[in-house]
């Protein structure tokens, strides 16, 4: 019952699509519009497709003709002519298939590569807030899996739809033209075959999905128990994991067994139908031929055509799955493309030129949650006013969740405040071009994120035009000369994906050099040294003075030495500025800072 409903749904959705009532109609039309630059190739593709389909239909007819007009008529000339035609048609078929396959492949791949780039470019225009709300896996999948699913639909889906439909129609027409009665007998197997195919396709769709889910479960379990192998071993729990695996393995077998049953019932049944059709045609057509009603060649042609129409029916029934998956992918891609970038430069945004580095926060309220009310606890910053003169080092201090990182993110304009303004050199950040601001910003996060490429490329990330000497100088300034020199290819050493070839400390040194080379006017160090070992830390600290000189800096740190050196210390408490001043002033004041300092000295003792 369910199957029948599914078939109904396919036709219903195709109908809506054709009439353009569906939201999908818009998307499909958009997709078709993407073909426009490649019109010529699309036209060639259809030419190839039509020729191939027509040429593919001819051989059984020609074979029948060879019997009737050549052999039975004792006409060698006619026989030769028909064989020549047969060969010509076969060659035409091959050539047209080449044309069609190549063009479909080319156009499909090209259009989807365009789409892939478009999705990527769209992502680049989105704000940081957008990325934090979505899982990276999902975003990546839009550019990979979903595009692949669409590729299936555009290439094999379109070809199957046209060539299978045309082939079926062609076979039906040719059979009817050859002999109406015999054609009707052959058609008796049609509905059975069509129903069997569609039912099989839909049933196996579920069955195959189940097998994919089972093997995915096995993969996930393997992944987990292998990455936790240390825990398994140290608690001696191997037998338990073996049992769990047996269960998953058994489920996998059961799911696969269902597909075995399905295949074992469908494919032999199709073969049976073909044989039944052949027997029926021989029986009825044979007695007709003996009575002189039809020619033997016609029977041979019919037997040939019977073999031809099983493939298209099977392929058409497969189309439903491809259609569903492709459409689902299209929906997901559109969801992404339809999301407007939420932090675009205003049309009148200015380029402020070289910044002096004066920072001002003016009554800033910020929450990561949308629509937070003034009384909510969701505010990460509440009514923050602060002025940092050019060249000053500001240390942010506070407990977990006090808003230190948030503060830094607002200065980098990763987010806009809900209320109040963030100003640099007296310009509201919302009125400055983002690129112009960020090019003068240097950020060193807690974990030095590197991109695959060489050490040099990574250091020059912010200033690709930097000279070799400039890069060497930056390396020297952060004290990384020794470690870079020890790498196999020096500065040209590939760091691997996310920089895995380097240790955490080395990555951080590269990140420091990267920030330094960009010669930022404002430097943000967000717990930049918390993940490096003692030795690296010491190296960095030496370079730090050089790094901070002559620029405004916001430092989120836990090292007392760094904090003490700051021109101004701001203590944040639950998003509010609790107090500010120099180290000595704050200790003398006996406020929250001195308490934090006290807690620290206690725990250190």
């Amino acid at each position: 019952m369910n199957d029948v409903r599914n078939i109904g749904r396919l036709f219903a959705s195709l109908w809506r699509l054709i009439r353009g009532e569906d939201q999908r109609g818009r998307k499909v039309r958009w997709l078709v519009a993407q073909l426009r630059p490649y019109r010529g190739r699309v036209a060639l593709m259809f030419v190839g497709l039509l020729l191939a389909t027509a040429a593919g239909l001819a051989p059984p007819y020609l074979a029948g003709k060879a019997i009737d007009s050549g052999i039975l008529a004792d006409d060698v000339g006619a026989l030769d002519l028909i064989v020549v035609a047969f060969v010509a048609v076969s060659i035409l078929y091959a050539a047209a298939t080449y044309l069609q396959t190549y063009m479909v492949g080319w156009v499909g791949t090209r259009v989807l590569q365009d789409l892939r780039q478009r999705v990527f470019a769209h992502l680049q225009s989105m704000s940081i807030g957008f990325f934090t709300k979505r899982s990276p896996g999902v975003l990546i999948s839009r550019m990979t899996n979903d595009i692949e699913a669409l590729n299936q639909l555009v290439t094999s889906g379109v070809v199957t739809m046209f060539s299978s439909t045309l082939t079926l129609l062609g076979v039906v027409v040719i059979m009817l033209l050859l002999d109406v009665q015999l054609a009707l007998i052959a058609f008796l197997t049609f509905p059975l075959l069509a129903i069997a195919s569609v039912v099989f396709r839909i049933a196996s769709q579920g069955a195959y999905r189940a097998t994919r889910e089972r093997i995915a479960a096995i993969t996930a379990y393997l992944q987990e128990s292998l990455s936790g192998v240390r825990v398994v071993r140290s608690f001696g729990q191997e037998p338990r994991h073996l049992d769990a695996m047996t269960e998953l393995n058994e489920e996998n077998r059961a799911a696969n067994l269902r597909t075995v049953y399905l295949n074992a019932s469908y494919f032999p049944a199709v073969e049976l139908l073909a044989a039944v059709g052949t027997a029926a045609i021989l029986l009825y057509g044979g007695s007709q031929a003996i009575d002189g009603e039809i020619q033997i060649g016609v029977i041979v042609a019919f037997v040939g055509y019977l073999a031809t129409f099983f493939d298209p029916i099977q392929q058409l029934s497969q189309l439903y799955t491809t259609y569903q998956q492709g459409m689902a992918a299209l929906d997901k891609i559109f969801d992404l493309l339809d999301t407007e970038p939420d932090m675009v430069d205003a049309p009148d945004a200015i380029d402020p030129g070289t910044l002096r580095g004066e920072i001002e926060l003016d009554g800033v309220w910020f929450s990561y949650a949308e629509g937070a009310e003034p009384g909510d606890s969701a505010w990460a910053l509440r009514d923050v006013d602060l002025h940092v003169p050019p060249g000053q080092t500001l240390a942010l201090v506070g407990a977990t969740g006090a808003g230190k990182s948030t503060f830094a993110k607002l200065v980098a304009r990763f987010y806009d405040p809900q209320q109040g303004r963030v100003l640099v050199d007296g310009h509201d950040l919302r009125g400055i071009r983002q690129g112009a601001l960020r090019r003068q910003l240097g950020i060193v996060p807690q974990e030095g994120f590197l991109f695959s490429g060489s050490v040099r490329e990574n250091i020059a990330f912010g200033r690709p035009e930097a000279s070799g000497e400039g890069i060497e100088a930056a390396i020297a300034a952060v004290g990384a000369t020794e470690f870079v020199g020890a790498l196999p290819d020096g500065v040209e050493t590939e760091v691997g994906e996310r920089g895995v070839q380097l240790s955490a400390g080395q990555r951080q040194l590269v990140a420091f050099a990267r920030a330094l080379l960009a010669e930022p006017r404002i430097l943000i160090l967000d717990e930049a040294t918390s993940n490096v070992d003692v030795r690296t830390e010491k190296t960095i600290e030496k370079g730090l003075e050089r790094l901070l000189r002559g620029r405004t800096a916001i430092v989120i740190a836990h090292r007392l030495s760094t904090i003490r050196r700051a021109g101004k210390i701001v203590v944040l408490e639950a998003g509010k500025i609790a107090e500010q001043g120099t180290h000595e002033e704050l200790i003398a004041a006996g406020g929250p800072y001195s308490k934090l300092y006290g807690a620290w000295s206690d725990s250190a003792a």
Partner: protein, 584 residues
């Protein structure tokens, strides 16, 4: 192929059924030929028996094929099942050192992709090969019986078809693999960009990223087009060759029928055979490739199955004798595989009396974690002996040893299961009271109760994400519940904030009573739990003593204490930031 042994009867059975079914398939065109002869000679009475014979052959074939598919399908699934069980069980026996040198992804693909390719070969490939071969042989034989001369002509393109098809398979597979490889590169590029989006934005390098991505995209495009060209060239060619054979039959066979040397029915049978053979000939080329893949997969699998576990209980090993958990290392040296020239530990002696607490302090890479791993016999030392309660750990039953030692590692790995199940990992039968008591000691009870489903909340890879500090507290509870003789805390509270840590300390102090405890920590506050501090550097013990003694007499310790240990506690990182990092 030894893994096939238990299923040998079924395998032969399914092959026999496959061949019988193929016999029917070959019989049908011959019957068609007879029918055409009957029609030509106007013999109406023969038609019905022939049609019934076709029908009968088809029914018989149906039965044979169904049975064949069921038997072969079940056998191949059973083999896959057995192999996976063997493989996983073998992995569970292999020592930890093996996993250090293996990528998890590689092992996983062996247990999934490689096993499936073996299964496909057994379920379909093997049968296809014999079936196709048989079809070709039988059909050729029948054709030769009908007319040797015509058969020779008709089959002339056949070797060419098999050759071209297998050649296509040979060139297209690497090409397709390269497409996959380039898609993987593109995925990595996209992944890196999304994960590093903050850096991209911070340096305003969106354009550059787009440029990099475009390069990856066009690499995929070029290779896809190459692969498409191969397909566009080969597959019509493979389709064309059998047609030429048919054309030859029409031409020469047709003349023979006209000359009266060949009956029309035989001619038709020839024609039908050739139409029928195009598929099997093409498939032969494809299945050859399938066989090669299955063999390669089998080799990869056996590479691991043949690797003997290096850490196992000796036969008939006694369990760890009763004791208080005294640990002794005598002249111990350790090298990790692939890092032979840098010893992880060298000539190290250490005695820890039962019930004592020792803190291991030293820079990263100084051998602290290696030392405690030896106690649980996760590795075997290259030199020297490790004794627990006076017995060499290599001489006792490994399971009994490990059940007396509990680890809390710095990454605090949790399984996808409920919090309660994770805490009860060492003892599935633990009561709820025991679980909660362990959680309370680890200062985890409070936050667990606030989770959506309390102790029944699912955590881990596919469950709720806990913060690093929360994970560590669950891991501590898990270790405490195991009630071990030796407790090992390897940087176990590094992600817990200072206030919570103070609270855990009280619970730990209680839990440590009556057991030997090793503490590896970077915080002085945690180190202060220890009776004695052991300072390590470069795989050796540099000094040992109390905090005061070491501050006095050990310059290296003082340096670490002042820089490495003390400072890092001052302030904690923002919680939301950490959660964000956990998500990325």
């Amino acid at each position: 192929m030894g893994f096939l042994r238990p299923y040998r009867p079924q395998l032969w059975g399914s092959l026999a059924f496959a061949w019988a079914a193929m016999g029917m398939t070959v019989l049908i065109p011959w019957l068609v030929g007879r029918a055409i002869n009957a029609i030509e000679s106007g013999d109406k009475a023969d038609l019905l028996p022939l049609a019934l014979a076709i029908f009968g052959a088809a029914i018989l074939r149906l039965g044979l094929t169904v049975v064949r598919r069921l038997v072969a399908g079940k056998v191949s699934l059973a083999v896959e099942f057995d192999l996976r069980q063997t493989f996983y069980a073998h992995l569970q026996r292999l020592e930890l050192g093996f996993f250090d040198s293996q990528q998890t992804g590689q092992l996983m693909s062996r247990a999934t992709v490689d096993l499936q390719s073996i299964r496909f070969f057994l379920g379909y490939g093997l049968i296809f090969i014999t079936q196709n071969l048989l079809t070709v042989v039988l059909a050729s034989a029948v054709m030769f019986v009908i007319s040797p001369w015509l058969a020779l002509i008709a089959l002339a393109p056949a070797p060419l078809i098999v050759y071209v098809a297998s050649r296509y398979n040979r060139v297209s597979r690497p090409a397709l693999q390269e497409v996959q490889q380039r898609i993987a590169e593109l995925t990595a590029e996209a992944e890196e960009n999304v994960s590093g989006i903050r850096i991209v934005k911070a340096f305003a390098r969106e354009e550059y990223q787009l440029h990099r991505f475009r390069r990856a995209v066009s690499r995929v495009f070029d290779q896809s087009i190459y692969s498409t060209r191969l397909q566009a060239f080969f597959s019509p060619l493979i389709g064309l060759l059998p047609q030429l054979g048919i054309a030859l039959v029409l031409l020469i066979g047709g003349r023979e029928v006209i000359a009266g040397d060949l009956s029309l029915g035989d001619f038709t049978a020839f024609y039908t055979y050739l139409v029928m053979l195009a598929g099997p000939m093409r498939m032969l080329g494809v299945t050859m490739g399938m066989a090669q893949r299955a063999i390669a997969s089998g080799n990869r699998l056996f590479e691991i199955l043949d690797r003997e576990p290096r850490i196992e209980s000796p036969p008939g090993a006694p369990p760890l004798p009763a004791g208080g958990g005294r640990v002794e290392l005598r002249g111990v040296g350790l090298h990790y595989e692939g890092a032979e020239d840098v010893p992880a530990l060298s000539d190290l002696d250490l005695e820890v009396e039962a019930g004592r607490t020792v803190a291991l302090v030293g820079p990263s890479g100084s051998g602290k974690t290696s030392l405690v791993a030896l106690v649980a016999r996760l590795y075997d030392p290259g030199a020297g002996t490790v004794l627990v309660d006076g017995v060499d750990v290599r001489e006792v039953d490994v399971a009994s040893l490990r059940s007396e030692i509990a680890f809390v590692a710095d990454d605090s790995f949790l399984f996808t299961a409920t919090v309660a199940e994770n805490i009860a990992y060492a003892d599935l039968g633990a009561s709820r009271e025991e679980i909660e008591a362990a959680a309370r000691r680890a200062e985890a009870d409070g936050f667990i109760r606030e989770l959506p489903d309390g102790y029944e909340t699912r955590v881990g890879e596919r469950g709720l994400t806990l913060s690093g500090g929360q994970r560590q507290r669950v891991a501590i509870a898990r270790a405490l519940l195991a009630d071990p003789r030796v407790l090992i805390l390897d940087d176990a509270t590094s992600s817990v904030d200072a206030t919570t840590e103070a609270a855990i300390k009280a619970g730990l102090r209680e839990a440590m009573a009556g057991r030997t405890t090793f503490i590896i920590a970077h915080r002085l506050s945690t180190v202060s739990l220890a009776d004695e501090i052991v300072v390590m550097d470069g795989g050796r013990i540099v000094d040992r003593g109390s905090h005061a003694e070491l501050m006095e007499g050990c310059g290296f310790y003082r340096e670490i204490a002042e820089h490495g240990l003390a400072d890092s506690v001052f302030l904690q990182r923002d919680l939301e930031e950490r959660e964000e990092m956990a998500r990325l």
